[in-house]
């Protein structure tokens, strides 16, 4: 373990300290040290809150900023934020028009959000939730409610955040976020495991020469362990899994997001994207916008996720709206 660390127990708080200093033009502190808020928010709009475990940088705080999320609750590494942190995130996002809480489908997050929503209600804050479940590999098609949320959450935040910035009502904001996630599918391939700093050794294994197809952001096993393949074959697997689920058809327009899992060089992500682009073209799927980089990671895991979102005019408009966050900047 060769890490830049002080005491591993303090890593989240120390990361936040650095993050808030660097991005003081985009985010600001709140009364709760585990909740960050966007510095620039248009007055009088619906609040957009999110939250999740740490170790996925830029997610979640990296998507707090103008025209995206207003607040994010921060958990320990790979562990849901507390109900209290979610509640404070709702309070900090609320401007009297209600709050849309857009988060990922994990049992801890579900429980803590549920409790926080209940507590917020007692204070007169209306919170509506949208739960991301874009990870195709985590449950069969007919059991979509069980699927995890992964990098597709970024498209959900983008759509919901844009709708709120444009003055949408709470229902319109959650509908836009729901529409984005309903049209989004993702899959991940893991090449090496990751290690919780305080644990000090990986708690799952990916043997040299193999890859875990359908891996989750915490090393959850996916569809199968196969032999390590070349980039073209890897891309084919990913496109087949993702495009086969929605289904994406000839003539569809999509947004593509290829994210590294943390330790894979960005150079390799472009290689992968090149292959994915060819395959989409073969299927007659038109790429409207694409994103390649480390958008949603898992500590120092090697590998990548592919996310596709099927677009219509509204989703295009929401995707195109300028945004200024640490993780995503569009002019």
């Amino acid at each position: 373990m060769q890490r830049i660390l002080n005491n591993p127990d303090d890593i989240v708080d120390e990361m936040l300290e650095g993050f808030l200093k660097v991005h003081s033009d985009i985010v600001e502190k709140t009364d709760n040290p585990r909740v960050v808020r966007a510095k620039k928010r248009s007055e009088d709009k619906v609040g957009v809150a999110t939250g999740g475990g740490s170790g996925h940088k830029p997610a979640f705080i990296g998507y707090v900023g103008e025209n995206m999320c207003d607040t994010a609750a921060v958990g320990e590494i790979c562990s849901s934020p507390t109900a209290a942190a979610f509640l404070d995130a709702f309070r900090a996002a609320d401007q009297g028009k209600g709050v849309a809480c857009l988060y990922g489908n994990y049992s801890g997050d579900n429980m803590n959000v549920k409790m926080a929503v209940k507590m917020a209600k007692r204070e007169g804050i209306t919170v509506k939730t949208v739960v991301a479940n874009d990870d195709v590999a985590s449950a069969p098609k007919d059991d979509r409610g069980k699927r995890r949320g992964v990098a597709g959450e970024i498209f959900m935040w983008k759509a919901g955040g844009a709708k709120a910035a444009l003055g949408g009502t709470l229902d319109e904001v959650t509908e836009a976020a729901q529409k984005a996630i309903d049209n989004t599918r993702s899959v991940g391939i893991g090449l090496t495991p990751c290690t919780l700093p305080a644990v000090g050794h990986p708690n799952f294994e990916i043997k040299e020469g193999t890859m875990e197809v359908g891996i989750g952001h915490h090393g959850e096993p996916g569809i199968e362990v196969s032999e390590l393949e070349t980039a073209d074959k890897m891309a084919k697997r990913m496109v087949d899994i993702v495009a086969g689920d929605v289904p994406f058809q000839n003539g569809d327009e999509v947004a593509v997001l290829v994210s590294g899992l943390g330790a894979t060089p960005v150079m390799e992500l472009y290689v992968l994207y090149g292959e994915i682009g060819k395959l989409l073209e073969e299927r007659g799927i038109k790429v409207y916008k694409s994103y390649v980089g480390n958008y949603f990671t898992s500590l120092e895991m090697m590998g990548a996720t592919l996310t596709l979102m099927k677009l219509d005019e509204e989703l295009k408009m929401l995707l195109d709206l300028p945004v200024n966050t640490m993780g995503l900047t569009q002019i």
């Binding site: 109900a83 209290a84 942190a85 049992s107 429980m111 803590n112 708690n203 096993p221």
Partner: protein, 208 residues
Amino acid sequence: MSIFRNKDGKSVVLNIVKAIQDNKAYLGEVDGLIGDGDHGMNMNKGFTLFEKRFADKEFTFSKGLYELGNILFSEIGGSMGPIYGTIFMDAGEAGEKFDEIGSKELSIMLQAGMDGLCEIVEARVGDKTLMDTLTPAVEALQNEEDFLTALQMMKTAAAKGRDSTKDMAARFGRSSRLGERSKGVLDAGAVSCCIILTAMADGIIERL
């Protein structure tokens, strides 16, 4: 019909804290096999936080449980914060009105904790979670009037419940992603729940 006084219960709560601290590494190992390996760390963090804040203060058994739950609930996230937070807070709340605690009172408290948990989780017996430990333990307590015997039976039932999770396939939480592959390993929550109930019983037995 032995009983202990609620106001003498501080040592019982601290006994639970110590048991979690002593088992930090073991819980991490168990969780690492099919979960993400942080169960020992998270539990230890929350229980130790309680110890730091309350070790020098006077508190009753029920108040101690409530405050412990409150710390877990508001400062430890993940799944364990709301799960154990709810159990301890609701159990503590249900025990506030008791000056003396025997098997009937303790079973009312633990039942309240379990009821609170059932409101927020769907898991029940057979799903490879701490429910497999908690449910039979509370039942054992309800079926016996003599407190000492009831506590022994609760310990036995908790251990048996814990062991029953070994051959189950997980349906909830992170290990559920493994489905059939989660068989052959104990559920970390069932293990920590057994540690807690055993330490609670032992702590009470010392007071009887």
